[in-house]
C-alpha cells in the first residue's frame, strides 16, 4: 500500500542484466582452477603453450573481465551519477562474450588456430564493442566528466584496444598480418589488458568505492589525476619502446611510472582507511584491501624479469608474474567485492518493493562462515602455488591447486546460495 516511487528516485540497472555475468564468472573461476590442477606441469615449460594460454584467457576474460563487466553495469550509474544508457547493449555484451570466451579458450587449449579461435576472438570483440559504446554513451548522457568517468572510459578504450590487438594476433597465426610472430607481441597484448584495463578500472572504481564502504571523508582528485596520467604514460611508453624494439633495459621508465602511480594509490587507500568513520571492517573489505597489497608481488616479478634474470628462469618468473596478477591481485579483489555487490543486487530483486516488515540484511544472503573458509583456502592455495612456481616444487603446485579449487567450489556455492535466496515470509 505504501510502495511507490519517490520524487527524484533514479532507477538503477536491472538485475536481469547484471546477474548472468556473475554466474558466468563464477563457473569460469571454478573451471580455471580445475584446469590449473590438471595442468600443473605447465610451469616446467615456456609460457607460450596451449594450456597456459587457455587458463590465462579463461581467468582474464571469463573470470576477471566478465565479473567486472557485470559489476560495472550496476556500479556505473553510481560512479557517473547517470543511468546506464542501454540494457540491450549490456545483454548483447553478455551473449557475445558467453559464446565467444568458451570458443576462444577451447581454441587455445586444443591449439586450434583456425575457425574456432577466430570466431571466439570476433565474438569477444563484439562483446567489448557493445560495452565500450554503452560506457561512452552513458557518460556523455550523464554529462559528468569527473576523474572517475575518465578512468572508466579510458579503461574501456584500453580493453577494446587489447581485444582488437588479440584478434590481430589470432589471425596472425594463420596468415601474416603483423611484421613478427604472434609470440613477440604477447607482452604488449598482456600489458594493455593488465595495466590499461584491469589496473585503470580497479583504481577508478576502487577510489570511489573504498571510501564509500569505509564511510571515509577522504578524497583527493589531484592524487587520482596523477595516478591516471602516470599509468597511461607508463603504458604508452611501454608500447612505444616495444614498437621501436628498444633494448629491454630501458623498460625501467614505464615500470617506474606505474610503480609511482601504485604508491600514490596505496597512499590514497591508507589515508581513506585512517580517517574512516566505520571502524569495523567486514571480511569482504579485508580481502579487497589485501588485494591492493598483493600488487607488490607482480611488481617484484617484473623487476626481476627486467633486470636480474635471463634464460630459462625468466620464463618461470614470467609465469609467476601472470599467476600473481590473475590468481592473486585480481582474484582477491573479486572474491571480496563479489560479496559486497551480489547480495545487494539479489536483496534488491527480492525485497525492494516490500515496504516495512522483517527482511534479512543483505549480508545474511550468503554464508559468512563459508566465506571465511573460502578466503583461508584461497590464501593458502595462492601462497603454495606461487612458491611451487618459484622453486618448481610439484607437491607445492598440486597442494596449492587443490586449495584453490576448494576455495573456488566454496565461492560458487556461496554465489548460488545468494542467487537462489528465497524471500523470508
Amino acid at each position: 500500500m505504501f510502495a511507490g516511487s519517490a520524487t527524484g528516485l533514479q532507477k538503477t540497472t536491472s538485475h536481469k542484466v547484471v546477474l548472468p555475468f556473475y554466474v558466468f564468472a563464477a563457473i569460469s573461476f571454478l573451471l580455471g582452477c580445475v584446469l590449473l590442477l590438471l595442468n600443473t606441469g605447465i610451469v616446467h615449460q615456456h609460457y607460450f603453450q596451449p594450456q597456459t594460454l587457455a587458463i590465462t584467457h579463461l581467468m582474464a576474460l571469463g573470470w576477471g573481465t566478465m565479473i567486472i563487466l557485470g559489476a560495472n553495469h550496476q556500479l556505473l550509474p553510481v560512479l557517473i551519477e547517470g543511468k546506464l544508457d542501454s540494457d540491450l547493449l549490456a545483454c548483447l555484451s553478455f551473449v557475445f562474450a558467453a559464446i565467444g570466451i568458451p570458443m576462444l579458450v577451447t581454441g587455445f587449449y586444443l591449439f586450434n588456430t583456425g575457425l574456432l579461435l577466430q570466431c571466439g576472438a570476433v565474438l569477444v570483440n563484439l562483446s567489448v564493442a557493445c560495452y565500450f559504446i554503452n560506457v561512452f554513451t552513458s557518460i556523455i548522457e550523464s554529462k559528468r566528466y569527473d576523474v572517475h568517468a575518465w578512468f572508466i572510459a579510458t579503461a574501456a578504450l584500453w580493453l577494446f584496444a587489447t581485444v582488437f590487438f588479440g584478434l590481430l594476433l589470432v589471425f596472425n597465426f594463420s596468415r601474416p598480418l603483423l611484421p613478427d610472430n604472434s609470440v613477440e607481441y604477447l607482452s604488449l597484448h598482456a600489458h594493455m589488458g593488465i595495466a590499461g584495463w584491469f589496473l585503470l578500472l580497479i583504481i577508478g572504481v576502487g577510489s570511489r568505492l573504498i571510501p564509500m564502504f569505509l564511510i571515509s571523508k577522504y578524497t583527493s582528485t589531484t592524487m587520482l589525476w596523477w595516478i591516471y596520467a602516470l599509468i597511461n604514460a607508463g603504458l604508452a611508453g611501454f608500447i612505444l619502446l616495444k614498437t621501436l624494439k628498444v633494448f629491454s633495459q630501458y623498460y625501467y621508465t614505464p615500470f617506474l611510472l606505474v610503480l609511482i602511480a601504485l604508491i600514490i594509490f596505496g597512499n590514497y587507500c591508507y589515508k581513506a582507511f585512517k580517517v574512516r568513520i566505520r571502524k569495523q571492517l567486514d571480511e569482504q573489505m579485508k580481502i579487497s584491501l589485501l588485494s591492493v597489497a598483493l600488487l607488490v608481488l607482480p611488481l617484484a616479478c617484473l623487476l626481476l624479469v627486467i633486470y636480474f634474470i635471463s634464460g630459462e628462469e625468466k620464463s618461470n618468473i614470467v609465469l609467476l608474474y601472470g599467476f600473481c596478477i590473475f590468481f592473486g591481485w585480481i582474484t582477491a579483489i573479486i572474491l571480496g567485492m563479489t560479496f559486497k555487490t551480489l547480495p545487494f543486487i539479489v536483496w534488491n530483486k527480492v525485497y525492494s518493493a516490500r515496504a516495512g516488515g522483517k527482511t534479512p540484511a543483505p549480508k545474511e544472503l550468503f554464508s559468512e562462515r563459508l566465506f571465511k573458509l573460502m578466503a583461508l583456502l584461497y590464501l593458502s592455495g595462492f601462497v603454495l602455488f606461487a612458491a611451487g612456481i618459484a622453486i618448481l616444487g610439484n607437491m607445492l603446485l598440486k597442494s596449492g591447486a587443490v586449495c584453490l579449487l576448494a576455495s573456488a567450489m566454496l565461492y560458487v556455492w556461496n554465489v548460488f546460495k545468494t542467487l537462489f535466496h528465497e524471500p523470508v515470509k
Partner: protein
C-alpha cells in the same frame, strides 16, 4: 544535520518510526545516518512531505529505503497522504551523521 519542519511535535512523532528504518548496507537507521532533511505537514490538504537524500544518487537501495520511509511515516499518520521528495542538494556527506550514528559506526 538538523531536520527542517513546520511542526516539531508531529515531526518527533514521525521520527520515532523512522529510527526503525535502516540502510541495509550500513545497518544504521536513516535518522542517525542523516538522510532525513525535512518533514513538513500540510494540515489543509492532509499531506506530509518528507524531504530526504540517499548516500549516493544512484544508490541501489534507494527504492527500498524510500518505500520504508513512506510506510513508516504513513503508519504514524494514518489520515495523511505521504509524499517523499528526494534531493541531492546538498548531497549526503559523513558530516551529516548524528553523534549517535558516529558512535554506532565507531563501535
Amino acid at each position: 544535520m538538523e531536520i527542517v519542519t513546520n511542526d516539531h511535535i508531529k515531526c518527533n512523532q514521525a521520527l520515532v518510526g523512522l529510527y526503525d528504518v535502516y540502510d541495509p548496507e550500513i545497518g544504521l537507521n536513516v535518522v542517525d545516518l542523516g538522510l532525513i532533511y525535512g518533514i513538513n505537514f500540510n494540515e489543509e490538504r492532509k499531506e506530509i512531505e518528507a524531504v530526504m537524500t540517499l548516500t549516493t544518487q544512484f544508490c541501489p537501495m534507494g527504492e527500498s529505503i524510500t518505500n520504508d520511509v513512506k510506510q513508516s511515516v504513513g503508519t504514524a499518520f494514518k489520515d495523511y497522504k505521504v509524499n517523499i521528495t528526494l534531493t541531492f542538494e546538498p548531497s549526503w556527506s559523513p558530516d551529516f551523521l548524528t553523534p549517535e550514528g558516529e558512535a554506532f559506526l565507531n563501535g
